[in-house]
Amino acid sequence: MREIQVKEISKIIKKLSIEASTIANDELIKKIEESEKIEESSVGKAVLKQLLENIKIGKTDKTPICQDTGFTVIFMDVGQEVSFVGGSLKDAVNKGVSEGYTEGYLRKSIIKDPITNPKNTGDNTPAILHTNIVPGDKVKITLLPKGGGSENMSRIKMMKPADGIEGIKNFVVETVKNAGGNPCPPTVIGVGIGGTFDYVAYLAKKAILRDFGDRNKDKQIAKYEIEWLKEINKLGIGPAGLGGKVTSFDLFIEVYPRHIATYPVAVNIQCNSNRKKSFVL
């Protein structure tokens, strides 16, 4: 067994929290630059230029690129030969989030009691932690600060098997259409198909972790990713919803086997800052 001190996890999560909110990924910068060339609407182009300028300011001033530094969602692939020592893994994760959001001057957006008490937890904890046991002795941590505006536009639907792939496509495109300018387009679209009510939403969120252009390994699904993105970019929503050709940067589909009676689909929308940072320990 490989022993890992949980305090190492706290340190990594603290660092990833700050970096994810203030330093845009290179692939995002490249994508916005490419989109600025493709976009034909002048107001759309102007918005994309603002986003590039914003990213530069964020990096120089170490200021978050978006004020909504999100709900901290953490995906952890844990090698089954790893043993965590020195305390609770969950506590260590939350300690990292707390320190990162406090010392990094990130916004704390979490309300303790979702129903009655609008009291902020004060340090953006608790995080949402997804652990996945995998072979090996490594731990891969991916941190995704998820903003509320784009999360609000995400949808889930238990469709009928008879609705077929066409029905799913229509639901995905309709969801993006109805979202309009709300989720800060150009967006990234994560689609989950299959599994159960809970699992399909997880798949959709996992889908937005993929890098631009990293198509699904299944050739048919990869084709759907390209086709549906094309459909979405015909909607005319454009950057910031002001009209244009670039409504979404990319679309990713993750699938899982389904029950004979069900056909679950989830669409998770990610905003134009597409924040995510990973580290392998």
Binding site: K62, T63, I65, R107, G241
Partner: protein, 183 residues
Amino acid sequence: MSIKLTAPLTEDKIKDLKIGDEILLSGTIYTARDSAHQKLVDLLKEKKDLPFDPNGSVIFYVGPSPAKPGQVIGAAGPTTSYRMDSFVNTLLKVGMKGMIGKGPRSQEVIDGMKKYCGVYFGATGGAAALLSKSIVKAKVIAFDELGPEAVRKLEVKDMPLIVINDCKGNDLYVEGQEKWVEE
């Protein structure tokens, strides 16, 4: 060419604005979002004073990130506006003239802007570090306990905005997008 405007606004300053007009806004504005709107409207119901003069006011829907030492404010981009829709007409009625946010408004809000002559400005969602550069002063004036949702008084200089809904009931989201739809 951008149009320079100074807040507080008056009907005279905004009645000729058209959707798509690029604006550079200076002057005094206030921040409020979800919980703060509920509290503002509750104060009006109880016939109490608001923490700021609503007459000619501009409300920016934002919950900024904390300022670092030496900074006026942290990142400060718009939050999605539709969540504030149900409170808007009450505020327009007491003199609010402008709103800054992102995303479409309900018909009720668009009708209210027409009735009371108000304007909805769009700021680019996701350009929060850039927008914070146009904020030169910031001070919490009410509901400090709400943290990022507290009401702040901001002094802004040339904040880059675009007119989404004007006094005449037009909507840039609808008209802007229609041009680019491919069948």
